[in-house]
């Protein structure tokens, strides 16, 4: 009851023209940085941070957090239209979003992704509103073994359905290898750098993704004749309504992804891992799992819902514990300190206006954000009607800018070009690219968590089954890994036909 009272108080705080204006500015800016591959939530927030030094902290956090929501909504736009993820957490959205756009269903895909985002955000905000103190305590339970178990679960839920096990293995290992380049953060040793100062910083997965998916796609479409397929993207109120009518049947996916996202945001595993895990689990549990990757609405809903849920939930550990659940939350944390607020459990007691103003603004801004992105869909869909000879070089330019600005290095643009060629060849040879990206994103984190855990236990593997929480996640991960074998075995025992997914593979 007290939570509700606090929430109403929060609404009272933010309902001023000034704060609402800040909200709108933040959302629109967020959509812009979300669409541009070189810029993302962290950039947008960091750049505007100095402007907020003189503002009151509540208005400042409302505006800056709205940039974050805007970028979370909009990251999917380029993923779906051009196969170039505008944000790292929308990589998984390309898997089904782009095929949908190719089939001329870009409008549906965009509507689904935005709505999924909204559902995820709403889930997390409700969770924050009512369970904040409880949830913050839960996050503290996560040590290295638990983190490793979570990453293991991500891998397990994502892998195992590839057509060619050897090729899947190869791309997976290439991803791990790329993630290992640079400094090993556990021992401080340089690995796979071969004395090159350019390789010191490692290969950021965004560069690989921009090259493999963005440039690789341009090369493929050039080969197939100078056009993008699926140019007829009709989008209007009817399409939005039509898509919305379909969504309730995916309630299970939405709920699962929301829960995964909220969990990953709080622990904090990050929006990117959340999106992959959301996609993987949705695929595992779907009746149409073999059709994932060919343009399923579920495949767009699952990662987007998880990503946005995790982004919203990430603010909770940031405020309550001072641990940022994402890069953007890290920059916001810096802001908090500059405004003179000390993050930590006391923030909820000492700064009620600030905390509840922010939570109330999260409800409102996600509704406004959904309306803003939906009304701009026709604008983005119109991009598809631009002639290929203009859009193709522009995409190459955008890829180059995106690759450069990851760490302001020319080397990255060259690396991006190489990845483009690799992407082209691998796609033609039927090497699956998703495992590569997954391993590149989670590979080093999983390794670090594994080694931290083993350091703590002095070499004993039993640490991964040392308490209820970690054993639970590990067991669930193992279950996921052997799920295909389990379902096959089950149907053999029952003497029935194997389920749909297996038969057609």
């Amino acid at each position: 009851m007290e939570d509700l009272f606090n929430l109403f108080h929060g609404f009272a705080v933010i309902f001023s023209w000034y704060n609402l204006g800040m909200m709108a500015i933040g959302l629109i800016l967020g959509v812009i940085v979300g669409v541009l591959p070189g810029l993302g939530g962290p950039n947008g927030v960091a750049i505007l941070l100095p402007l907020t030094f003189t503002m009151n902290p509540t208005s400042a956090i409302v505006m800056l957090s709205c940039i974050y929501w805007g970028s979370l909504f909009a990251g999917a736009i380029t993923s779906i239209l051009f196969n170039i993820p505008g944000e790292s957490h929308s990589v998984a959205t390309t898997f089904d979003g782009y095929p949908l756009a190719q089939q001329g269903r870009a409008g549906e895909a965009l509507t689904a992704s935005f709505t999924g985002s909204f559902v995820g955000a709403f889930f997390s905000v409700v969770l924050i509103t009512f369970l904040a103190p409880l949830v913050a305590k839960f996050a503290l339970k996560f040590g290295p073994p638990e983190f490793f178990a979570v990453y293991f679960l991500s891998f397990a839920s994502f892998i195992g359905t590839g057509r060619d096990p050897f090729k899947t293995m190869i791309t997976l290992m290439i991803g791990f290898g790329l993630a290992q380049i640079g400094m090993d953060s556990v021992s401080g040793q340089l690995r796979l750098t071969f004395g090159s100062s350019e390789l010191l910083r490692g290969i950021d997965f965004l560069i690989a993704v921009i090259g493999l998916f963005g440039l690789g796609e341009i090369l493929l479409s050039m080969e197939e004749g100078l056009k993008f397929e699926g140019k007829e993207a009709k989008i209007n109120v009817k399409v939005v309504w039509h898509t919305w009518k379909k969504l309730p049947q995916y309630w299970a996916t939405l709920l699962r992804s929301s829960a995964i996202g909220a969990w990953m945001g709080i622990t904090p595993g990050g929006a990117t891992s959340a999106s992959f895990m959301g996609y993987g689990i949705a695929k595992r549990f779907s009746k149409n799992s073999h059709k994932f990757g060919t343009g399923k609405l579920e495949g767009v809903l699952a990662p987007e819902t998880a990503a946005h849920a995790s982004g919203c939930a990430a603010l909770l550990p940031m405020m309550a514990l001072g641990i940022p659940g994402s890069a953007t939350a890290a920059v916001l944390l810096g802001g908090l300190m500059i405004w003179g607020l000390q993050p930590g459990p006391l923030l909820f007691i000492e700064q009620k206006d600030f905390v509840w103003g922010l939570i109330a603004s999260m409800y409102l801004s996600n509704i406004v954000g959904l309306i803003i992105v939906l009304t701009t869909v026709p604008l983005f869909a119109a991009i598809l009607r631009i002639p290929f000879s203009i859009i193709a070089p522009v995409i190459v330019v955008v890829c180059a800018i995106g690759a450069y600005s990851v760490n302001n290095a020319m080397f990255n643009i060259w690396a991006m070009l190489v990845f483009g060629v690799i992407g082209y060849i691998f796609k033609k040879l039927d090497y699956p690219l998703a495992p590569l990206v997954l391993a590149l994103v989670l590979g080093d984190r999983a390794e670090v968590a594994f080694r931290q855990a083993i350091l703590g236990s002095q070499g004993a593997m039993s640490i991964f089954f040392s308490n209820m929480l970690v054993s639970g996640i590990m067991t669930f991960g193992l279950l996921m890994l052997f799920w295909p074998a389990i379902t096959l075995g089950w149907s053999k025992i029952r003497g029935t036909e194997p389920p749909e997914g297996r038969k057609t593979d």
Partner: protein
């Protein structure tokens, strides 16, 4: 490149799937080998308190090597060797139409800055592929670059590679 072109043109074929597949497997094998060597150099064992730095790279490399050998053997000696064309020269030429200018674009970015290089790249592409009129080309390519400049340098203060033109303008 020139030589290959004259050689291949008569058959209008370039390379078959199985050849490319085998070459890719060999390259992956070499990558795996390099990873194993580097992993070995920095210690690939299991120390008393957990894996050493090279533990995972070494094993990653080893799996790459094994898998690539399987793919290589399967490609060359499998039942269904894929004699299909990987890509015909005509189609590959179109890929090069993007790839080669893109390489030059990146090269020139280092010297004349990203904005000028982008304008030239977009303009050149529009001319070569779309046969637009010069007026349209200049209008579109320059305004895209200018918009990017306004967005990144002025609004978001993100610094992209700049060349002599930008320093002339005081950036």
């Amino acid at each position: 490149m020139e030589q290959k072109q004259t050689q291949d043109r008569p058959h209008s074929i370039w390379l078959t799937y199985y050849a490319i597949e085998a070459i890719t497997a060999v390259i992956i094998f070499l990558v795996g080998l390099v990873m194993m060597l580097d992993g070995y150099r920095i210690g690939m064992g299991w120390a008393f308190d957990g894996p050493e730095s090279g533990y995972f790279p070494f094993r990653t490399g080893a799996i790459l090597c094994i898998s690539s050998v399987v793919v290589f053997l399967r490609t060359l000696f499998g039942k269904h060797r894929n004699y299909n064309l990987f890509v015909s020269w005509d189609r590959f030429k179109r890929v090069l139409y993007v790839l080669i200018p893109a390489v030059f674009y990146v090269l020139f970015t280092q010297f004349i800055g990203m904005y000028v290089a982008s304008a030239v790249f977009i303009g050149g592409f529009m001319r070569a592929m779309g046969k637009f009129s010069w007026l349209k080309i200049i209008l579109i390519s320059v305004s895209i670059s200018a918009a990017l400049f306004w967005m990144f340098e002025i609004q978001f203060k993100v610094s992209l590679p700049k060349g002599p033109l930008e320093s002339l303008l005081g950036y």
